[in-house]
Symmetry: C2
Subunit: 208 residues, 2 copies
C-alpha cells in the first residue's frame, strides 16, 4: 500500500517530505492550504485531531509529529542509513537535536505567524512577532557554534536531522536572521539544495 | 561510572528523574535553583549551553531534551521494557506522543511563567498567562479523548511516556485546569503516585 503524506507549504512537513523522497518511499503527497483552514475540516481532523501537518497514513496507522516521523522512516528504511541506528548514544544525540528543533526553534518561529495560539490580544501578538528575528538568531548561534558538526549535522553521516535543519534554516531566512553571520549554516543549506530529493521537494514548499 | 543528572523542581526533568529511579540506574541527582539562575552559570552552560534542565552526564557524553533522554534510557535498559523497542510503528506512536508533549503541551505551560522568552512586553506576557488554563485544558481534552489508551498511555505496557504524562498532568493541576473534567487523566495520575519511583522522586520536584 502506498503511504499518504499530508503537508503544507512553509510548514515543518518539509523535513519529512525530503526524507520520503530521498529514501524512494512509495507515497502520495496531499497538499493542505492552511490559509483556507484545510487542516480543520472534519475530514482532516479524522486523520489528525490536532489539526496540524505533517501526517503520514501508513498501512499500520497514522503517524504525526516530525521527530517521530523522521525516526520512523529512518528505522523503516535502514538501508538508507539516515540515523545512527546501531549506536544508542549517537541516536540519542540526533533525537536530542530533532527534539530541540520541534520544542524550541519551531516554537520561536511560530510566534511570528501563530501568536494567537498563546495570546488572544492583537498587540501582544505583535510584540511576539517583534521578537522572532532575535530568537531565531539565538537559535542559529547555538546551531552554528554547538550543534552542527559539519559537513552534516551529525558529522560525516547524512541523517534525517539534516532535512530538519534545512527546514529550520529556510525559516530563519524569512524570519529576518542575518545569515551572513552564520557561514556554516549557510553552507549546509547550500549543500542541501544540491541533493536531488531537496531539489524536487523544496519548490512544493515555496522554496526556490 | 555513575551518571550525573541535573534537574530543577517543577520542570520537565521530573519525567526523566522518574525513569532513572524506576530502572534502578546508577546516578546522582543534582538540583538547580532556576530562580537563582543556576542554569546560566558558566559551569552549567558548559554542561548544557542551552541553559535548561534536564541534562544527563553519561560515560559517553552529555544528553539533553526529555524525549531523547527517555528513549535513551529505554534503549539502555531494555530489560525494564519501558518502550515498544521491537515494534517500529508502536515506537513511533510513543515518540509522537512524547514529541507533542515537548513541542505543544510543555510550550502551552511555559507561557505562564516564561512568557518573556517570546515577548519583551510585560502586558503581553500577562495576556499569555491568561490563556494558559485554556490551552492546557485543550491539551488535556486531546489526551483524555485521543491519546491515553488506558490504563497506561500506550495501553497495557507501562512506558516512559507515562512518566512524561504524569509531568504534564502535574502542570495542568497548577495551571488551573479543572481536572474533574478529565477522569481518565486523573486516574492515571493517581496510579502513577502509587509507583515506588514516583513516590520517591515526586517530592523532590515539589509534588506531595
Amino acid at each position: 500500500m502506498s503511504m499518504r503524506f499530508y503537508y503544507a507549504p512553509l510548514s515543518c512537513a518539509l523535513a519529512t517530505h525530503i526524507v520520503l523522497e530521498h529514501i524512494g518511499a512509495d507515497y502520495e503527497a496531499e497538499k493542505l492550504n492552511l490559509r483556507e483552514n484545510d487542516q480543520n475540516t472534519p475530514g482532516y481532523l479524522a486523520i489528525n485531531p490536532k489539526g496540524r501537518v505533517p501526517a503520514l497514513v501508513t498501512e499500520q496507522g497514522i503517524l504525526t509529529e516530525t521527530p517521530a516521523l523522521l525516526m520512523y522512516l529512518a528505522q523503516t528504511y535502514p538501508e538508507a542509513k539516515l540515523a545512527p541506528l546501531d549506536d544508542i548514544f549517537s541516536l540519542a544525540q540526533m533525537q536530542s537535536i530533532n527534539s530541540w528543533f520541534c520544542s524550541t526553534v519551531h516554537v520561536n518561529h511560530a510566534h511570528g505567524a501563530r501568536g494567537r495560539r498563546w495570546s488572544d490580544d492583537l498587540d501582544a501578538q505583535k510584540t511576539m512577532k517583534d521578537k522572532v528575528a532575535q530568537n531565531m538568531t539565538d537559535s542559529a548561534t547555538l546551531i552554528e557554534g554547538e550543534i552542527l558538526r559539519g559537513p552534516w549535522v551529525m558529522g560525516d553521516q547524512f541523517t534525517v536531522a539534516d532535512a530538519y535543519l534545512f527546514t529550520m534554516v529556510s525559516w530563519m531566512k524569512v524570519d529576518g536572521v542575518d545569515m551572513s553571520q552564520f557561514p556554516r549554516l549557510s553552507d549546509h543549506y547550500k549543500r542541501m539544495l544540491d541533493i536531488p530529493a531537496v531539489k524536487k521537494v523544496a519548490p512544493l514548499h515555496g522554496i526556490q
